[in-house]
């Protein structure tokens, strides 16, 4: 709690300091302030942005008091409009995308799910988690390079440490000792699509690829970049790489059976629900350094 207060009050105080300083002192000292300002201004953003709740305008406070009188009354302040604009994506290819949604849906229920279930019956869960760790460890170059591309050197160092530790003491990456409490190096879930996003490139529009699923022009380019950094892309013959990729999918699916079903079951329009979930998920990942969801959701500095 104290940490929370500190982290909050520091940038706020700085902000107040600069705001007041700029307004009242035209002396040379003020001109020294701007060069120092950008990183702090950024900090203010980091603190308030990932929470994704728009700052409450003063009118809303008043409104919430009157709201108790009549809970079902009109909303007077359309306070969530900005949030909404961020969460939407253009969908000019909707007919194609919807067709591909049905294709992928069938692919899941008719092929991927039964195969993954059968595989899950034969292979115990602990082994499947190991396989999943192994593949995640192999994908280290993707996370490492994209941390570097985003100038997240701390993240890159953490990734390098993880790779070394998990490869040597984690039996080639099957175990994940680097995530243990003692070492506590967390996976930096970065990819090339996020790097492009961090450079300011927007999603563009929605594409639902057959087999690969939800994407956008930006993330499609990202996917190609990631594929080039994935070691087993270079396996020979070509179908060895494809086979490995498929196996990884089956293994991951076996650990997540039921997720797609519940997402689909909860939705009024599953196609729109999945599109929106994809957009929200990617947006938050791009906005977050290191791509780590639980640790940095608060937007507070990690250490």
């Amino acid at each position: 709690m104290v940490r929370v207060m500190k982290a909050f009050s520091f940038p706020v105080l700085l902000f107040v300091f600069f705001a007041v300083g700029c307004a009242h002192s035209p002396d040379p000292a003020a001109s020294l302030a701007p060069p120092a300002a950008p990183p702090h201004a950024e900090q203010v953003l980091v603190v308030s942005d990932p929470v994704q709740i728009p700052p409450t305008p003063p009118e809303m406070q008043v409104k919430s008091e009157t709201k108790n009188v009549d809970d079902y009354g009109d909303i007077e302040v359309p306070e969530k409009v900005s949030e909404e604009a961020k969460g939407e994506i253009a969908d000019p290819l909707e007919p194609f995308n919807r067709a591909m949604y049905h294709f992928n849906d069938k692919l899941y229920f008719w092929v991927l799910k039964p195969v993954a279930q059968g595989y899950g019956k034969v292979v115990p869960e602990a082994a499947r988690v190991g396989v999943s760790n192994f593949f995640a460890n192999l994908a280290f170059p993707i996370r490492f390079v994209n941390c570097l591309l985003q100038a997240n050197f701390g993240g890159a160092a953490e990734e390098l440490g993880r790779f070394t530790i998990n490869t040597i003491w984690g039996i080639g990456g099957v175990l994940d000792p680097a995530s243990s409490k003692d070492i506590d190096l967390s996976k930096q879930d970065e990819d090339f699509g996020q790097t492009l996003g961090a450079y300011g490139i927007g999603q563009g529009f929605y594409i639902n690829w057959p087999i690969f699923g939800p994407s956008s022009p930006r993330d499609t380019v990202g996917l190609v970049g990631d594929t080039l950094l994935r070691p087993f892309t270079y396996l020979s013959p070509w179908y060895a790489g494809t086979g490995t990729w498929t196996y990884e999918r089956v293994n991951d699916t076996s650990l997540n059976i039921g997720d797609y079903e519940s997402l689909k079951g909860a939705a009024i329009d599953p196609y729109v629900a999945i599109r929106d979930a994809y957009v929200q998920y990617r947006l938050k990942k791009v906005n977050r350094k290191g791509g780590n969801i639980p640790a940095e959701d608060s937007g507070l500095p990690k250490k």
């Binding site: 929370v4 909404e84 599109r275 959701d297």
Partner: protein, 197 residues
């Protein structure tokens, strides 16, 4: 006069020391989640025949934990105003049932997963986000509760699962439907959804 002030002070003190509902956001969420877990762990409710009793108990906790109207309002956002009051009331009831249907089986399937309460982040004096994680044998699922202080109680108005806000996700779907249909048709779709399956 002086005595009156003293009495008043004591009353105020008593009022504010009731920790259950007026406590900080994280405590409010945690105490409600723990109540849910108590019901789910209750061996007497494990039998298939006790399922309805179990659900009824969970509904009571839900009422205390969530702000139904606020959740619906934020989900419909600007569309809320295009529904008349009767439609709004029906929407709140239907949406609640849609959510129950969607998540009750997942909740009842709870076995022994650990729930970690990480931290609360105050957004304003009356708004906060409480971050939790469900830790299973193969993964961690981050779940955040967005809460609002109303009448002295912190109530949930949005749940963010794996980075996806429930309110925003349904809002996009309802926007899409209401762009082409009248509010009455949306209600009809929801009625069907509640009845179906």
């Amino acid at each position: 006069m002086k005595r009156r002030i003293v009495v008043l002070n004591i009353i105020i003190l008593l009022l504010f020391s009731l920790p259950v509902y007026a406590g900080p956001p994280l405590d409010a969420v945690q105490s409600n989640v723990n109540k849910v877990l108590e019901v789910l762990r209750d061996p007497k409710l494990k039998a298939a025949s006790a399922k309805e009793i179990e659900k009824e108990k969970l509904r009571l906790i839900y009422d205390r934990m969530f702000d139904d109207v606020e959740l619906s309002k934020r989900t419909l956002a600007k569309n809320w105003n295009s529904l008349n009051v009767a439609q709004r009331q029906e929407f709140v009831l239907l949406f609640r049932q849609v959510l129950e249907k969607a998540y009750i089986d997942k909740i009842l399937a709870y076995t022994d997963e650990k729930i970690v309460f990480d931290r609360e982040t105050m957004v304003s004096g009356t708004q906060a986000e409480v971050q939790t994680r469900i830790v299973t044998s193969s993964k961690e699922i981050p779940i955040s509760y967005r809460v609002l202080l109303k009448d002295g109680a912190w109530k949930v108005y949005d749940v963010v699962i794996e980075n996806v806000s429930l309110v925003l996700n349904y809002r996009t779907q309802f926007n899409d439907i209401l762009a082409k249909n009248k509010p009455e048709q949306l209600l009809e779709i929801l009625r069907k959804k509640v009845k179906g399956q």
